[in-house]
Symmetry: C2
Subunit: 187 residues, 2 copies
DNA sequence: CTTAAAATGTGATCTACATCACTTTAAAAC
DNA sequence: GTTTTAAAGTGATGTAGATCACATTTTAAG
């Protein structure tokens, strides 16, 4: 059975068995339990994570103590704090597990080394980066344009599994509404 | 006097005279007058623009006829609709000039050709793409976290020139508040 | 199994911001 | 310079969604 990461990369570029083994050798695998942190506020993030199994969130707590969720991550998704990872500055956000999770991670050094030796990975990273940006752009548009109910419906249609796996108050923190309001949106 | 685009690129990678000339040969220059479109809703965007001089906005009109502004662009900024440019799908947004503007543009083909022949441009594009993503990420956080007044103050501090150059109702459309509310934020 | 701790729902009330309506001011266009 | 059009300010009123308070249900922990 093909490795899920291989499937994931091959959605963008084609790989031989040796190439994939070479790629995989640049990653490490870890397991984390529910409520464990991958990144804590203040860390300088050295790794980019790919989710084999589980569910995570990247979020931050504002000065009123309210949590805001930037991203959820599930199987086959990448997650990290890009700002900290790219600029090597202290992270404003935390990333933690909503479920027990299994992850692969790659450091910036390994990523650079891999890309240098295997040039076509550049296309993979570039494409992923572009997609991430487009998703964020659409989220900005949605926050500017849509009501709480509309944002809720869009998310529910796009990621129905999410609603089975994460508490509603986190959905609320992602959508930018209070949990009370979210609870009333169904009716 | 060094070309402003050269200065801009050299903030990230170093260039010889020949290299810059080679880069520049992949661009075309155009002038547009105030109110003219660079991209109209429905277009499949073929170009990425770099602003030599002037001021532009990328925006879209929702089904209630309200304008929402995704991005402003001024001197030394890049502007395009990434979603359409990357995926070659119909653009949801329009880009038009707030002032008479002078622009350089590069097509996807020229960009690929340039990058293929001059590998270090890859690093330049990658970095720009990352910065764009980080900016969007922070905008999402700001929309989730901050009040209209707070978002206004942040923007005013970050880009004071913008407030001299664009009508307030456009600032409002960028911040996600009505122009009436924006007008009352000062007091 | 029992107890503690989250998660969720729901009413009552409050408030930031939207919308509508109209006036004033400034900038294009002729 | 005069007219037209767009920008900006401001009051009155409406409303989506926040906040507070408490009850109920579900999940986790001892």
């Amino acid at each position: 059975m093909t490795h899920p990461l291989r499937k994931h990369i091959e959605e963008i570029i084609h790989l031989t068995d040796e190439e994939f083994e070479f790629i995989l050798s640049h990653f490490e695998q870890i397991k984390k339990r529910k409520h464990q942190y991958l990144v804590q506020e203040g860390d300088i993030v050295k790794k980019e994570f790919w989710i084999i199994k589980g569910c995570l969130k990247s979020s931050f707590i504002d000065n009123e103590g309210k949590e805001h969720i930037l991203q959820f991550g599930m199987e086959n998704w990448w997650i990290t704090d890009y700002e900290s990872f790219v600029n090597q500055t202290a992270s404003k956000i935390s990333i933690d597990c909503i479920e027990d999770s299994e992850l692969l991670y790659i450091t910036a050094e390994n990523r650079d080394a891999l890309t240098a030796k295997m040039h076509k990975m550049e296309r993979f990273w570039a494409k992923k980066s572009k997609y991430g940006r487009i998703a964020l752009q659409n989220r900005v548009l949605s926050l500017l344009q849509n009501s709480a109910k509309e944002r809720y419906d869009v998310l529910l249609n796009q990621y129905p599994q999410l609603f089975q796996r994460v508490p509603k108050k986190m959905i609320a923190a992602y959508l930018g509404v209070s949990r009370e309001t979210l609870s009333r949106l169904n009716s």
